[in-house]
């Protein structure tokens, strides 16, 4: 028995099984199937799903709902992420558990609405002012969209932060056979809640990397939420010591947990001098290329990052042992290759790119290995 399904369906099921109770989105190709499925499915579970007036409202409604106790998700494509930008900053600053799906298409601007791309890799990481870290997970197969979405909810809840599911038009919309055993039932944790009756400060964290317990708008404990630089009680402040502590916390909350957050699939071959790297839909061509190269007697290793942010530096460092050349394939100007160069400054990094709306092919990757 096989399923005949697609990545969008896997993401929606992952969200519903992770306990998502609120969805707001705005129609955009190629993310609309997620919007339509959530509008149809979420009310069955007692949740709320709404088509907002624009992307700004979509993420705004999610933030309001999340701080009122909902598990919230929104989905869009690159142009929508542009409109999410300021509210992504609010979600970081206000420490909002939120899952954001980006079904990438070819950019910039309106770009190719029905065309695949992977050009949002750096955009989702740096897409709001301040430079503060977010978590970005990129499923490498349609089926993996299920487990990755569950994991995104798990991390959003536990770290009170926006977590992206970074996918693309082809992985999301190509129909494919899936062995149901491929779905990973990743456990989904819950946000740490304030104990009713105890004194409450909305943004109390100790040490810096700790996540403040949450109380919700509408709970018996009065809550203050703010996007302004604030003290522990969520009152606006300019006091340098308090401001510095807050901003260090927003970084430490993610950075100090990098070892737990990093996630990659490594397929290492002893004696390999070449390492192939690709994320998302391009990892399919990569796996095929590895198969072909090994069938021809070539020794090659491969690494498929699932957490593209944080970059899986530990797995990458391990995969780089004895490697003289890294080939990074992606549907953008070489955005992940930049990150690999930072981790492997003394190794030749070959960037294989494609930006014509077609997928990187196994042949392209194999040729780069010659």
């Amino acid at each position: 028995m096989r399923e005949w399904t697609d990545g969008s369906t896997a993401i929606v099921r992952g969200a519903l099984h992770a306990g998502c109770t609120f969805f707001a989105g705005y129609p955009i190709t190629p993310a609309s199937p997620i919007l339509m499925s959530m509008l149809a499915e979420l009310p069955k579970t007692g949740g709320v799903a709404i088509q907002a007036e624009d992307e700004i409202a979509a993420i705004g409604m999610c933030i309001g709902a999340a701080m009122s106790g909902a598990r919230a998700m929104t989905a869009t494509s690159g142009p929508g992420i542009s409109l999410y930008s300021e509210n992504l900053g609010l979600a970081i600053m206000g420490e909002v558990p939120l899952v954001v799906v980006d079904v990438q298409r070819l950019g910039p601007a309106t770009g190719g609405a029905t065309t695949v791309g992977q050009g949002d890799l750096q955009f989702v990481r740096w897409g709001t002012s301040g430079g503060f870290p977010v978590i970005v997970l990129a499923p490498s197969t349609a089926a993996e969209g299920y487990g990755v979405t569950r994991r995104a909810f798990d991390l959003a809840e536990r770290f009170r932060t926006p977590v992206f599911v970074l996918t693309d038009k082809e992985l999301s919309l190509t129909t494919t056979t899936v062995d149901p055993r491929a779905y990973e039932s990743v456990p989904v944790g819950a946000r740490v809640q304030h104990a009713v009756g105890q004194p409450f400060t909305p943004y109390h964290y100790e040490p810096a990397a700790a996540v403040p317990p949450i109380a919700h708008v509408g709970d018996p404990t009065l809550v203050r939420f703010t996007g302004s630089t604030h003290d522990e009680r969520a009152f606006l402040t300019k006091d340098p010591a308090t401001v510095g502590k807050l901003n260090a916390h927003l970084c430490a909350k993610i950075d100090a947990h990098a070892a737990e957050l990093e996630w990659a699939h490594s397929d290492l071959q002893p004696g390999a001098e070449t390492l192939l790297v690709a994320f998302g839909v391009t990892s399919g061509a990569l796996r095929q290329a590895v198969k072909n190269l090994r069938a021809n007697g070539r020794k090659v290793s491969s690494l498929v990052p699932i957490s593209v942010w944080p970059v899986p530096e530990r797995a990458l460092a391990a995969a780089l042992q004895g490697v003289r050349r890294v080939v990074v394939a992606e549907l953008n100007p070489g955005l992940f290759a930049r990150e690999v160069r930072l981790v492997a400054p003394n190794v030749e990094v070959v960037s294989v790119t494609r930006m014509d709306g077609e997928l990187v092919s196994p042949t392209q990757i194999e040729e780069a290995c010659r």
């Binding site: 701080m67 009122s68 300021e86 190509t174 509408g218 009065l222």
Partner: protein, 436 residues
């Protein structure tokens, strides 16, 4: 901050003094809001003040209720999310005239949806916090740092705008109105969207450059032709409640599961087979290819179907790419197809690059009546059906005919796939025509 679980308070204010300029209307409006909450006697833990940006955005800090301070102009979106998630809450938006401009669409949609929030507009006709620049409500002719020779723009009539678009409660007055607290109490207890446009003085900027006083505030409304007082009070279904009511019927229904397909009769395949069907949008290219794909899944094979189409809906090309393989398909693209089925002129036009890379081992099937395209592959014109086939079934006919010529899958698998899908009878008839 300590917990408050009492249901009735003498005051919803906390002890912190307001930070506003002498003579500013913000403090008096907030005092009226406090009185309104006392009058309505709502549990403070069931009240949330959602504040926008600007001087009025500081307001939430002075109340012992829930407080939500977000981005400029977006307070209505957070308030909508809160109300949708917790419909039992009293949600009050405190916003300046600036916020109603930048968040204009949210204001319109909130009124139109009739979401149950009360919007209190601190309307002092300028951006007080950032230097007194003009806003959407600045009267024509008024002087501000950004309209040094007088404002050329017509001010927005907030009340008329939300009233005509379905708000349940609309009122306009000034910060000096004694009835303001009663009107706020009315607004927050009226189900649906409510807006109170409260004219007030910005003593830091606007009154410095314009003749404006307590007595001229309402006169100005008259001069602009804006209604004052209670403009609309007409309750209609509140959105969050209406949503729950509308969805009650589907609640508890099973979630939609992905399509599960058993293996009926395994078919062995030595290597992946890559086929492209190229036709026109509206020509059922994707659904015909899907039938073939499902027949392959029923035969125990691994399949991917990737599609390409323009942004238009029922015009232009429609391409479906199938990879049928004995094991999991890793790369879903096609570098060189084993076969192409050309279904229309749009399809041929879009297939140039693929036809070019095909060699003599490739096979190209051309639907009846179409010209043979240039390619190194073996081109096989498909014969017209011997029996009548509906025009919108010609794609499926040609595809099935090609499958027959390729001996790709047994007819029984195609028929089984047809039987499991919609329009089974018509599809079976077309398969029969292709195999006749």
């Amino acid at each position: 901050m300590s917990d408050i679980t009492v249901t009735k308070l003498a005051s919803y204010r906390n002890q912190t003094p307001y930070p506003f300029c002498p003579g500013c209307g913000h403090g008096p409006i907030l005092d009226h809001l406090n009185k309104a909450l006392v009058k309505a006697a709502i549990d403070p833990a069931k009240v949330v003040l959602v504040s926008d940006i600007g001087c009025s955005g500081l307001s939430d800090q002075y109340f012992a209720t829930h407080a939500f301070h977000g981005l400029h102009g977006r307070s209505l979106t957070y308030a909508t999310g809160i109300k949708l998630a917790r419909p039992e809450l009293t949600v009050i938006v405190v916003i300046g005239d600036g916020g109603t401009g930048i968040g204009g669409t949210h204001l319109l949609q909130a009124a139109r949806r009739n979401i149950g929030i009360t919007v209190l507009v601190f309307d002092n006709f300028n951006f007080g916090m950032t230097g007194g620049q003009h806003s959407v409500t600045t009267p024509k002719g008024a002087k501000t740092p950004t309209t040094p020779l007088g404002n050329l723009e017509r001010p927005l009539d907030l009340c008329a705008t939300v009233a005509v678009n379905g708000a349940s409660y609309v009122w306009r007055g000034t910060s000096f109105d004694g009835e303001l607290s009663d009107r706020i109490a009315e607004a927050i207890t009226t189900p649906g969207f409510a807006l109170l446009d409260v004219f007030e003085l910005c003593t830091a900027h606007f009154v410095e450059h314009n003749t404006m006083s307590k007595s001229t505030l309402l006169e100005m409304a008259g001069r602009l032709g804006f209604e004052t007082g209670l403009i609309r009070r007409q309750p209609r279904p509140e959105y969050a409640a209406a949503y729950r009511e509308a969805m009650a019927g589907v609640r508890g229904q099973p979630l939609r599961e992905p399509r599960r397909i058993p293996t009926l009769q395994p078919v062995s395949l030595a290597r992946p087979f890559r086929l492209i069907a190229a036709g026109s949008a509206g020509g059922k290219v994707r659904s015909a290819t899907r039938l073939l794909a499902e027949a392959a899944v029923l035969s125990g094979l691994w399949v991917t179907q990737r599609e390409d189409y323009p942004v238009t809906v029922k015009s232009g090309h429609s391409i479906a790419e199938l990879v049928i393989a004995p094991e999991e398909v890793l790369y879903t693209g096609i570098e060189r197809p084993d076969a192409m089925v050309l279904l229309s002129a749009d399809g041929i036009k879009k297939s140039g690059a693929m036809l070019k890379v095909m060699d003599q081992h490739g096979r190209v099937f051309v639907a009846p009546g179409l010209p043979a395209p240039p390619t190194a592959a073996a081109v096989e014109p498909l014969p017209a059906p011997a029996v009548r086939v509906e025009r919108d079934h010609m794609g499926l006919y040609a595809l099935m005919r090609a499958v027959r010529a390729l001996d790709l899958l047994p007819r029984s698998a195609l028929e089984a796939a047809a039987q499991r899908g919609g329009r089974a009878e018509a599809n079976l008839a077309t398969i029969a025509a292709a195999f006749a």
